[in-house]
Amino acid sequence: MSKDSRSGVVAEAISNPLEGVNFAELELSLYRPRTLINIILSSVVTLITFLALIPLFAVLWMLIWRGGQKLSLSLFTQLPPAPLEQGGGFGNAILGTLVMVGLAALISVPLGVFTGVFLADAKNSKLAGAVRFAAKVLTGFPSILAGVFAYGAAVLTMGGFSAIAGAIALSILMVPTIILTSESAIGMVPARMKEASIGMGATGAQTVWMVLLPTAMPGILTGVMLAVARAAGETAPLLFTALFSNYWITAGGHLNLMQPTASLAVLIYNFSGMPFENQRELAWAAAFVLVLIVLIFNLIGQSFSRTQVQQ
């Protein structure tokens, strides 16, 4: 083909660009497969999303219906009933859960926050990369293995099931969340604040204590609350570290952390397998209380993150 005729074709196409286009084919109508597929897939995705939410509402509904019905003040003050006994409550389990989660927070918050400070400070060093990666891998760490570890490291060495062993197992699950959230919270503190602090002659430690941590506090607290919420609902790590107990952790007038300790989650698990109606009812009520506790911690955490956004 010569150069002349080719430029002729191009010129023709430019002069009439719409020539040869079948307009009927471009029309969007339900009878055309591509539009039809579009609408079908859109409806399928909508349907699937709402189907995915059904279990959430089903669980919440059952909790309110079966658990809320049973709710009374005596649940919070009495001890778990023996088989075939009526009534009873799970006050010791609520206390045990709170004590163990509190202990776990005492272990994991300093570790997590200072690691977060380090990560935000030494962003690109090799060690920081490795630590960050380790934290991400730990996020997906199966909770039962944290229990196995605490069993080996605490129960076997200390000679018995205890609240401390339970707290150690829970803290392993809390650390990665706290590290990652506090790193991002501290990373969001404007660099000029840090520079101003150092410029006024503050040492590194003073800068961290008086400028970085207070400014990043809402974000850090969000992470801590989310971690606490997760730990409060965990069962697997407590099953064979804190075991269970039918008595108050404060029995005998003082707090004894070296004895088997009750927790709400383990109570639900134990009672759900029992053939007694009263225990099953209690399991539902305990599940209701547990979900309430978890949701409250979640909401507190989210309210902290909202104050940070407003700043």
């Binding site: 969007l28 909508t46 999303t49 939410l53 380790a134 293995l145 609902g233 759900s272 539902w284």
Partner: protein
């Protein structure tokens, strides 16, 4: 000091692995690799092997992964495409409220609420899902499952009746539990697709779904894949729901309705009453579970890291 704390995090992982491995040594000496390939678990004769548990773990997780990723990715598309806010906006426009100072915010608010509700699925403790599965799901699906068994009993998946706990209820609850993980990560991946790619596809005349299937999903595929791998890791390590729903029967099965067992459920059920002889054996089983989940999780984290690096390079 911070340096020391950071070092401790890495030390922690090493310690976790070492503690479990060290305690497993006696069992490893005694049973060796037969532990992984044998099928008997008989404490009375002190013969232990965990092939049925390994199979059960992988089988339930894979099945849950199919359901979880189908629903999870679809929900991620729904959220990232803004279907809900669009629909609410259209409804508001009928009442001419779409720029109203309060009503006008409704589309965004509802969209955020929906996202939070999906994340709320992850906040419900697994033991509560177990309770729900035990007393609500199993009685509900049992008649249908037994009908399926009667009609299609020749088909391996339906070869037994559902008499209570079994694989199917466990898989069902498991897929609900991993859905939020997959949705959150996939949504992030879809949202971070550069807008110009979407614009270009629309500009070429593609419909919405031609854009999603041809442009958005392939571009975000690495992130979505990473999310699915992490969801798989979660499913492998999930304990309580499975310990309550899977039936704790030491058998190799492909039937959906038969009871089975998983590594995590075995640990949860055996550890509280383990004798001194059994502890090394259980530690060995924990080591196997640790190896499987660490490999899956490290792989998932690497995929996501590379996906993020690639997105930044653009």
């Amino acid at each position: 000091m911070c340096f020391a704390f950071a070092g401790f995090t890495i030390f922690l992982i090493a310690w976790l692995v070492a503690e479990i491995a060290f305690r497993a040594i006696p069992a490893f000496r005694e049973y060796g690799l037969n532990f992984i390939t044998g099928t008997t678990w008989d404490p009375n004769k002190s013969r232990y092997a965990i092939l049925p548990e390994i199979w059960g773990t992988l089988y339930t997780s894979l099945l849950a992964l199919i359901g979880g990723s189908l629903f999870g990715v679809a929900a991620a598309v729904f959220l990232s495409e803004g279907y809900l806010s669009e629909a609410v906006f259209k409804v508001l426009r009928i009442f001419n409220l779409h720029f109203h100072p309060i009503w006008g915010k409704l589309p965004e608010r509802l969209e955020l609420l929906l996202k939070n509700m999906i994340e709320l699925l992850a906040a419900v403790p697994s033991v509560v899902y177990g309770l729900w599965g035990l007393f609500v799901v199993i009685p509900m699906i049992r008649p249908y499952c037994n009908w399926l068994h009667e009609q299609f009993g020749w088909f391996p998946l339906f070869s037994t009746t559902l008499s209570g706990p079994g694989v199917l209820p466990a898989v069902f609850v498991l897929s609900i539990m991993i859905l939020p993980t997959i949705t959150a990560i996939s949504r992030d991946a879809l949202v971070s697709v550069p807008p110009k790619l979407r614009m270009a596809a629309y500009g070429l005349g593609a419909t919405r779904w031609e854009t999603i299937l041809g442009v958005l999903l392939p571009t975000a595929s690495r992130g979505i894949f990473g999310g699915i791998v992490l969801g798989f890791g979660r499913a492998l390590g999930e304990t309580m729901a499975l310990a309550m729903l899977v039936g704790n029967a030491n058998r190799l099965t492909v039937s959906l309705f038969s009871p089975a067992n998983t590594l995590a459920a075995l640990l949860a059920n055996s550890f509280p009453e383990a004798s001194a002889r059994e502890i090394p054996v259980l530690m060995y089983a924990a080591l196997v579970l640790l190896a499987i989940t660490l490999i899956v999780n490290i792989f998932g984290a690497l995929v996501l890291e590379r996906a993020a690096a690639k997105a930044e390079a653009k």
